[in-house]
């Protein structure tokens, strides 16, 4: 039976009939501020707590209004209404807190950012103390964990690094070659490819790949361990979560990144070599001869030097975000995203600093 309700102005009664459930809200009459002193439920066929609340809230819009008299309700319905009425005050007139203004949000953001940086500094401090303590005790190093991490980070990333850098080498050589050919400067394409791939493209692209692939994985893994209290269990066993989990990952990244960058270098040069042969008629022996003439060791070393610096930042950010997960599943996702964003920003900023510093130092 559908719900009905009508207001009887003479007796100031709200008379309800039919099935009063959540959907009955539409049946409530427009009261326009008229007081309700009586609730009448003679013809109610069904009443649940949602329906009971709707009737009570209609009769009593303010917590200060008097409780209406209940008339003609069956004993079960009356008991239900009384039960709901006892909990009614908490539900009435609870306006939402006002929305935060821009200033408030900016302030909150600034405080959160400050706390975050302070936390990162604190983490670096703890990690340094822990690492220094471990240096004297090689027996406590987690060799097995380190090896497993190197395998995951390095071996697993080889195919994607080779694929990406090879393609970038192809694209870069193609575009550069297209320009150089107009001036008959075909051979200088080799110089350009070497400089770009070894010094900039390979380190930055590898760092971005590792940040997205490994950094995110580390945060998600440590974060899930935090949620399932595995980290607390490690600490309770008298082990340091930093020594067991963080330092092996950091060392593994330090080892894997330069190796990946070198592999990226080779793949990029191969890509460039392919295009040089097909598009610019620079045969492979000519390409290699030119490479031997113009490639300076420092070009290679600059690229390889950037890799461990990027690795440290990725590892720091990923581990710290993983360990600062709170105990809910949303936080794992949020921190994982944050790791990738922070790592990318850090990589780009560091690379810019390197570019300026190397020029100033005449490297």
């Amino acid at each position: 039976m559908t719900a009905h309700a009508r207001y009887d102005a003479a007796s100031r009664a709200l008379i309800a009939s039919g099935d009063w459930q959540a959907e009955a809200a539409a049946a409530l009459p427009e009261l326009a501020g008229q007081p309700v002193h009586v609730l009448d439920g003679a013809d109610l066929t069904r009443l649940d707590t949602n329906g009971a609340w709707l009737l009570l809230a209609a009769a009593r819009p303010q917590a200060s209004d008097p409780m209406p008299e209940l008339r003609n309700f069956s004993p079960a319905h009356r008991a239900l209404l009384e039960l709901v009425a006892r909990h009614c005050d908490a539900t009435l007139l609870q306006p939402d807190p006002p929305r935060e203004g821009l200033r408030m949000l900016t302030g909150r953001g600034a405080i959160a950012m400050g706390r975050h940086l302070a936390g990162l500094l604190d983490f670096v401090g703890h990690l340094t103390v822990e690492s220094l303590a471990l240096i004297g005790r090689p027996g406590q190093w987690r060799w097995r964990e380190l090896a497993a991490q190197v395998r995951d980070i390095f071996v697993g990333a080889i195919p994607i690094v080779v694929g990406m850098l090879f393609l970038l080498g192809v694209v870069f050589a193609y575009l550069l070659g297209d320009q150089a050919r107009q001036y008959g400067a075909n051979i200088f394409v080799v110089d350009g490819i070497l400089m770009a791939i070894l010094r900039e493209i390979s380190p930055v692209i590898v760092a971005i790949l590792v940040a997205g692939r490994t950094g995110a994985a580390i945060t998600a893994q440590l974060g899930t361990m935090k949620v399932t209290e595995e980290i607390d269990a490690i600490a309770t066993l008298g082990l340091s979560p930093l020594a067991v989990l963080v330092i092996p990952r950091m060392l593994a990244l330090l080892i894997a990144m330069p190796l990946l960058v070198f592999i990226g270098d080779v793949a990029g040069i191969l890509g460039g070599m392919l295009v040089a042969q097909e598009q610019l008629d620079i045969s492979r022996p000519v390409f290699l001869d030119r490479m031997a003439d113009v490639l300076l060791l420092k070009t290679l070393l600059v690229g390889l030097f950037k890799a461990p610096v990027f690795a440290i930042f990725i590892a720091l950010i990923a581990c710290r975000m993983g360990l600062s997960v709170t105990r809910d599943s949303r936080s794992v996702g949020a921190n994982t995203t944050s790791t990738v964003v922070q790592s990318l920003v850090a990589i780009i900023i560091l690379n810019a600093i390197f570019a300026v510093a190397f020029v100033q130092l005449n490297i």
């Binding site: 949602n50 909990h87 908490a90």
Partner: protein, 255 residues
């Protein structure tokens, strides 16, 4: 209105090569508070998942309110879902929503009420679950285990279901919270006219609030009845189960 709320006939379930249910029959009448017990791995939780439509049994028939759970259109199943509420073992609260929105979610999705009204109804349910008003704006991660269970109970009650499924409602709670939770369930069952079907290991729950206990063993219902009736059954697991509590009762200190 049918008197039998839940009717299960000849259920067979095989999971990962293990036969879990071998011709299981049981039924629950309107207004009963029924507990399902059984040793670990007897398929209590599996049965519960089958009843609420999360896992399909190999064969057999499960009827809720006279309607088969596994031969329905999605629309019919959704209508059916509005008539029962489920409390999962760890609460299964949505961690991205605050407490109030957690409880209001079924109302948001299944009714056309304005969101503000849904939230007020959610607060009513929180009150019914004996939670203080100030938890409404908190996140589930800020609550204790007992409070999370109460919030989950409030969410299960959001649409005023006729039937409530509880999966180990008192596990992980301290004895005081567990007893308070039992009392709350019984109180709500009586005052809202609920039928309650719960899976439990908690003997105190059985002794305090349950009308009827159903014992699962070897993929079938071993027996059903009051605790006193079940104690008469000759089954090693059941004897050991009840013995876990009996000494404390029959031999007080200094005996």
């Amino acid at each position: 209105m049918t008197d039998t709320v839940l009717d299960i006939r000849d259920i067979h379930t095989t999971l990962g090569g293990n036969s879990i249910h071998r011709g299981l029959d049981l039924s629950v009448r309107r207004g009963e508070v029924v507990a399902l017990i059984g040793g670990s791995g007897t398929g209590k939780s599996v049965l519960l998942r089958e009843i609420i439509g999360l896992l399909k049994p190999q064969s057999g028939r499960i009827e809720l309110f006279g309607q088969s759970v596994w031969d329905t259109t999605p629309a019919q199943m959704n209508a059916l879902r509005r008539r029962f509420g489920v409390l999962f073992q760890d609460g299964a609260l949505f961690s991205s929503l605050d407490v109030e929105d957690n409880v209001a979610t079924p109302l948001f999705e299944h009714t056309s009420l304005p969101h503000a009204t849904c939230r007020q109804l959610a607060r009513l349910k929180l009150g019914l679950a004996n939670l203080p008003a100030d938890v409404a704006k908190k996140k589930p991660s800020e609550l204790s285990g007992g409070m999370r269970k109460r919030v989950a109970l409030a969410r299960a009650l959001a649409l005023d279901p006729e039937l409530l499924f509880l999966d180990e409602p008192t596990s992980g709670l301290d004895p005081i919270s567990a007893r308070a939770f039992d009392t709350l369930i019984r109180l709500l069952a009586d005052s809202l006219g609920l039928t309650v079907f719960l899976v439990t290991h908690d003997l105190d729950t059985l002794f305090s609030i349950i009308d009827r206990v159903i014992v699962l063993s070897n993929g079938r219902v071993l027996g059903s009845g009051s605790v006193a009736e079940l104690k008469q059954l000759d089954d090693p697991w059941l004897s050991a189960y009840f013995a876990a509590r009996t000494p404390e009762e029959t031999s007080p200190h200094g005996n």
